[in-house]
């Protein structure tokens, strides 16, 4: 990978809620086409990092560049999969409605999703193995199914860069396997994926790039170089959390 092949650059980013910094002086270069995990203890600011990169939280300082452009200029090429607990699943909508929301950004003001959008949504549902659930009310879905719906919603955006906030949370082993396959397929098609991840054990198996985060960046790079016991101890030592690998 060439040195100047970075697609995302974070420079001097600090995020604070009131006076306490949640993220402190983050500098991060993410190369194109990686499947990257953001790993760190609870409260390390993992979700905050991707939210700040997506302009959902205003950092107190620093900037983020996508291919040299600001987030706003590059927004069409960026997909986001929030934590599935972040919404009320008793909302009156069915699976297809939710996936179609991924098309809303393309539609512009006043326009409703049409047949083409529905076809794209059904395709995305098929990719996550949920096609036969299209008419299902979303309150009847399991945690794993909710997660797959959110993935499908991001897939219909057909972005180049995907941000995912704990896509394996509350998911059974079978679904986890299916999601990993999907992420790897996206990577093979040249997409860049940035995933907040909790399970240290699976990092080497699922990802090829990793950020070790604990308010500051402890280490970033290819998994085989960076994901060492020494670096993990550095990341987790302040927390007293016992490392299980």
């Amino acid at each position: 990978m060439k040195k100047n092949d970075y697609i995302i650059k974070v420079e001097d980013m600090t995020v604070a809620y009131s006076t306490k910094p949640v993220l402190w002086d983050i500098d991060l270069d993410i190369p194109k086409g990686v499947l990257m995990a953001i790993v760190g203890p609870n409260g390390a600011g993992k979700s905050t990092l991707i939210k700040a990169m997506l302009d959902l939280i205003k950092p107190v300082s620093g900037k983020v560049l996508f291919n040299g452009e600001s987030y706003k200029e590059h927004r069409k090429h960026i997909g986001y999969v929030p934590q599935s607990e972040s919404v009320d699943w008793d909302f009156p909508a069915n699976v297809l409605d939710v996936v179609l929301m991924g098309r809303y950004g393309e539609l512009g003001w006043f326009k409703r999703p049409g047949k083409k959008d529905k076809d794209l949504a059904i395709d995305a549902l098929e990719k996550v193995g949920m096609k036969e659930f299209a008419d299902r009310q979303i309150s009847q879905l399991s945690g794993g199914q909710q997660q797959r719906i959110f993935l499908a919603r991001a897939l219909v955006q057909d972005a180049d860069i995907y941000f995912m906030d704990e896509p394996f949370k509350g998911v059974d082993a079978k679904t986890e396997g299916a999601i990993v396959e999907l992420l790897k397929e996206l990577k093979n098609r040249g997409k860049t994926l940035i995933v907040v991840h909790h399970d240290l054990q699976t990092v080497p198996e699922y990802f090829d790039w990793v950020v070790l985060l604990n308010r500051q960046i402890v280490k970033v790079g290819p998994v085989e170089e960076v994901f060492t016991d020494e670096n993990l101890n550095k990341t987790y030592k302040s927390t007293g959390q016992i490392l299980k690998r």
């Binding site: 927004r75 986001y80 972040s86 919404v87 009156p92 409605d97 929301m101 950004g105 009310q137």
Partner: protein
């Protein structure tokens, strides 16, 4: 017969009913969004907080024109929400406490001002008390016209921004990431909800207006899982209760309109909570009973299967107490198991011999084995 006659001939009643029906439609539609966004309580705060605005508008301008008074209501309602949001954002006071605080301060202030107005000479018998409980009979044709115009604007806006309101209500972060200006969309929607509240103050009153906003939507949600059907049903329920309440309160003298409308819409809510398919309480109870029974049946069948596996001999049948080993089994329990075995027999999963002993059939074995296979996947 008298009532029907009255409606057909009484011009005033027709005007008033029309006003209430429009009000019901508007608050039903906007209320649906307030409910799915969990902002019903904010609606309550806005309507209570409108009272001092009404009183101040009268004191400052000396006019009783509805539009002027309602403009005052709008301003003080909006001020209250800014204060509530500000307090919960910049102090350690939580949102619900801030809401209760502001609501009661504004409402109390409004009551003080109303009492003051009554004592002012030449106050022209302002009749502002009607805004507390609402008095539909004071609605004039020009008021109905204002309601109709505002209502049309609100409904057109809902149609125009349907997908924006929907996505912002469901997942605001995702909407923001798609490039929607969620702040502006949220503000527009909220301003529309506030407007629909203000429109209803004359008819329903500041105390009960939040019921008008919340109840039709809650009832409608019971019957459907689709947002557009929920909004339409909610409008329908709002209209029915608006007309119903107005007619009852005009037929029975001294009956305030607001409470009457609220009683009717509450009845619709109770019926919906109880009877709606899928979400209704009765429906859920019946489904639970059915589930319980099939879990019981599955358990009985599984026990029979284990007995069959242990005996290696399909012909070997068992009595009830072996099938369900329970030292405390009472007569009622036995009858229950007997019934479950009979039900399973109807499905072809069990059979009994002449000694009233039971065993599992081939199709029963197949059912159990398939079931466990699926579970293992």
């Amino acid at each position: 017969m008298n009532i029907i006659n009255l409606i057909l001939t009484d011009y005033t009643l027709q005007i008033v009913s029309l006003g209430s029906a429009l009000l019901g439609i508007i608050s039903g539609v906007l209320g649906s969004f307030a409910v799915i966004r969990k902002e019903s309580l904010l609606g309550d705060a806005v309507s209570h907080s409108a009272l001092p605005g009404i009183a101040l508008a009268f004191l400052l301008t000396g006019t009783k024109n509805t539009e002027v008074l309602l403009l005052g209501a709008l301003l003080s309602g909006l001020l209250s929400t800014f204060l509530i949001n500000g307090i919960s954002k910049y102090s350690r006071i939580k949102f619900d406490s801030a809401l209760a605080l502001i609501l009661s301060v504004f409402f109390g202030g409004g009551l003080v001002l109303l009492t003051y107005i009554q004592k002012v000479p030449n106050a022209n018998q302002a009749g502002l008390e009607k805004f507390i409980f609402g008095q539909a009979s004071t609605v004039l044709l020009r008021d109905v016209k204002i309601i109709a115009i505002l209502g049309t604007i609100l409904l057109l806006l809902v149609l125009a921004f349907w997908k924006e309101f929907k996505i912002v209500s469901f997942d605001i972060d995702f909407a923001e990431s798609l490039g929607f200006d969620t702040k502006k969309i949220t503000f527009l929607l909220f301003a529309m909800i506030v407007t629909s509240i203000i429109i209803g103050l004359q008819t329903v009153g500041v105390i009960l207006m939040s019921a008008m906003l919340t109840a039709p939507a809650v009832a409608a949600r019971q019957w459907t899982d689709k947002l557009h059907i929920m909004v339409i049903l909610s409008a329908l329920f709002g209209a029915i209760s608006g007309i119903g309440g107005t007619i009852v309160s005009s037929v029975v003298s001294k009956l305030p309109t607001g409470p009457m409308i609220v009683i009717i819409i509450s009845t619709i809510v109770i019926i919906s909570l109880a009877l709606a398919p899928n979400r209704g309480l009765v429906w859920r109870y019946l489904r639970n009973v059915k589930n319980q029974r099939s879990i019981g049946e599955d358990q009985v069948l599984a026990n029979l299967y284990h007995l069959y596996v242990n005996h290696d001999n399909e012909g070997h049948c068992h009595d009830l107490i072996t099938i369900n080993p329970d030292a405390n089994l009472q007569q009622k329990g036995k009858e229950n198991i007997q019934k479950q075995l009979e039900d399973l027999k109807k499905k072809g999963f069990t059979r009994s011999n002449s000694l009233d002993k039971w065993c599992i059939t081939d199709s029963g074995i197949e059912y159990v084995e398939n079931y466990f296979k699926e579970g293992e996947e």
